[in-house]
C-alpha cells in the first residue's frame, strides 16, 4: 500500500503539469497511466504533429512538449506507474483507497483524474461472434508468439503492429495479412519487407478485404472475408490477430459514482472538484460552462486542482500563495540553491 497525498490518473500534459503544481505547493503524488509511456494523447496520437497554441512556445511537437514537462517535474522525483489502470476507488474515512489493474494499492487524500477521453484500449473486431474466441484464438496483442508455431494466422490491419507481426510470424507460421485497402500506414521499410515476403510466398496478402463472418463453435474452423466489390472468400485459419489501433474508453471511471455528462465529468471551476469530495477532474475529461479542450486550459485546471487538494492533505495548515521567482520554500522544493 502506497500512502501519499494525491494520486493522478493519466500522464498526459495536463496530469504531468498538475504533478508539477502539486510539487510546488509541497504535496506528494503518484501517477498512473494505462499506456507504457508518458504523454497521453500527445505521444500516442500526434507525437510528430506541431502544436501552435502553447503559451510562449510558438511551435512544438507532442513529443517535445511531453519531454519538457517531464524535465520540469524531475526535481520532485514523483513515481510513475505505467501500463497500469486504476480499477477501484473506495472511500475510507477521510481517505481514498485505490486499486489498480495490476493489484497496486494507494491510500490518498485526493485523486485527480486527468484521463483525457479515457484510457487507450485496442479496437476490436466489430463482429459480435469474435467475443467468444477472444483470448483463445483471437488476440489484439501478443504475449507468447510460440503458440502460433506451424499454425495459420490471419492478421488484420495496416499499421506497424500488423506489418511487424506479419513479418515476425512469417518465419514460424503461415501468415495471411488482410487489410481493408491497398495502402498500408506502417513504416515504408516494413511495407517493402511485407511485399518482398509476399513475392517469396511467405506472406499471403489480401487487400480490400474485411472480416465478414466466423465459422466454428468451440474452435474457429474458418472465416469469411468480404472484398470491397462484394466478393466473399472463405479461408481456413487457426488464429486471428486484430491490429486496428487504439480507441479511447472511459472504462472503470464510470463506476466511481461520479456525475457524468456524456463522456465527461462535470466539475466546479473554483478547484475542479467533482461531485465526490476529494476527487478532481482536469483536462479533456472534465466539463463546465465555457470549457475549452486546450492543453493550456488543462494546465490552468491542474494548477487550481492542485491547490484544491491541499486542504485534504494538510487540513491543519494554511496554503500560502507563493511565486516561484521569489519563494525560498518553493526553491527548496525545486532543489534550487
Amino acid at each position: 500500500m502506497i500512502d501519499t497525498d494525491v494520486l493522478i490518473v493519466g500522464a498526459g500534459p495536463t496530469g504531468l503539469f498538475c504533478a508539477h503544481q502539486l510539487g510546488i505547493v509541497g504535496l506528494k503524488c503518484e501517477i498512473v497511466d494505462n499506456l507504457n509511456k508518458l504523454g497521453g494523447q500527445c505521444i500516442e496520437l500526434y507525437p510528430d504533429k506541431p502544436i501552435y497554441d502553447i503559451p510562449a512556445i510558438p511551435e512544438c511537437t507532442g513529443e517535445e512538449l511531453t519531454n519538457n514537462l517531464i524535465e520540469q517535474i524531475k526535481p520532485f522525483n514523483f513515481n510513475f506507474h505505467l501500463n497500469d489502470r486504476v480499477e477501484e476507488v473506495k472511500k475510507d474515512k477521510n481517505k481514498w483507497l485505490v486499486k489498480t489493474n495490476k493489484g497496486k494499492e494507494f491510500k490518498v487524500s485526493s485523486i485527480i483524474i486527468a484521463g483525457g477521453v479515457g484510457s487507450f484500449e485496442p479496437r476490436k473486431f466489430s463482429l459480435k461472434e469474435c467475443e467468444k474466441f477472444e483470448g483463445k484464438e483471437i488476440f489484439y496483442s501478443i504475449k507468447d508468439k510460440n503458440i502460433f508455431n506451424n499454425k495459420t494466422v490471419s492478421i488484420f490491419g495496416g499499421g506497424d503492429a500488423a506489418l511487424d507481426w506479419a513479418i515476425e510470424l512469417s518465419a514460424i507460421s503461415k501468415v495471411q495479412l488482410i487489410h481493408r485497402r491497398d495502402e498500408f500506414r506502417g513504416a515504408q521499410a516494413s511495407v517493402n519487407k511485407v511485399k518482398e515476403l509476399n513475392k517469396e510466398g511467405k506472406i499471403e496478402l489480401l487487400t480490400k478485404y474485411q472480416l465478414s463472418s466466423i465459422k466454428g463453435d468451440k474452435k474457429i474452423e474458418s472465416i469469411s472475408i468480404k472484398h470491397d466489390d462484394g466478393d466473399t472468400k472463405n479461408i481456413k485459419t487457426d488464429y486471428l490477430l486484430g491490429f486496428f489501433g487504439l480507441i479511447m474508453q472511459l472504462g472503470p471511471i464510470t463506476n466511481w459514482r461520479l456525475n457524468l455528462d456524456k463522456k465527461h465529468i462535470p466539475v466546479n471551476t473554483e478547484n475542479f472538484e467533482t461531485n465526490q469530495k476529494g476527487i478532481f477532474a482536469i483536462g479533456d475529461i472534465c466539463t463546465y460552462t465555457g470549457k475549452l479542450k486546450l492543453i493550456l486550459s488543462g494546465f490552468h485546471e491542474g494548477a487550481l486542482a492542485a491547490r484544491g487538494c491541499f486542504k485534504y492533505a494538510r487540513p491543519n495548515e494554511k496554503l500560502r500563495f507563493e511565486f516561484t521567482t521569489t519563494s525560498k520554500s518553493v526553491h527548496n522544493r525545486l532543489g534550487i540553491k
Binding site: L45, K49, V117, S126, G157, E183, D228, K263
Partner: protein, 106 residues
C-alpha cells in the same frame, strides 16, 4: 448557410443549416445530432466522427487529406465510402449533402 442531412443508423433524419467553413462534424455537434462523438475535437487524431457518404456525394467532396485514411483504418466498420466528418469543410457546393452515421463510433 448550407443544408446538410445527417441520417442516423436507425434511419432517423436530421436536416440542419450549417455555416460555411465549419466542418460537417461541427455541424453535427453544434446541432446536438447523436452519433458523432468527435473525441479529439477535430484534430484528425481519433476516428469517432466517422460517416459514410454515398457515391453521388462522395465524388463531389474535397479529396481526403493525408492521414485521413490512416485514421479511418481505426474506425468502427470503415468502408470505401467512409470519411471523417471533421475533414469535410462545409461550402455552398455541398448544399444538400447527405451523410450516413455508423451504428456506433467506438
Amino acid at each position: 448557410m448550407t443544408k446538410i442531412k445527417y441520417i442516423e443508423h436507425n434511419g432517423k433524419q436530421h436536416e440542419v443549416n450549417v455555416a460555411n467553413d465549419l466542418s460537417v462534424m461541427e455541424g453535427a455537434v453544434q446541432n446536438d445530432i447523436p452519433g458523432i462523438d468527435a473525441d479529439c475535437g477535430g484534430g484528425m487524431a481519433c476516428a469517432t466522427c466517422h460517416v459514410y457518404v454515398k457515391e453521388d456525394w462522395f465524388n463531389k467532396l474535397p479529396e481526403k487529406t493525408e492521414g485521413e485514411d490512416d485514421m479511418l483504418d481505426q474506425a468502427y466498420k470503415p468502408s470505401p465510402s467512409s470519411r471523417l466528418s471533421c475533414q469535410i469543410t462545409v461550402s455552398d457546393e455541398l448544399n444538400g449533402l447527405v451523410v450516413h452515421l455508423p451504428e456506433k463510433q467506438l
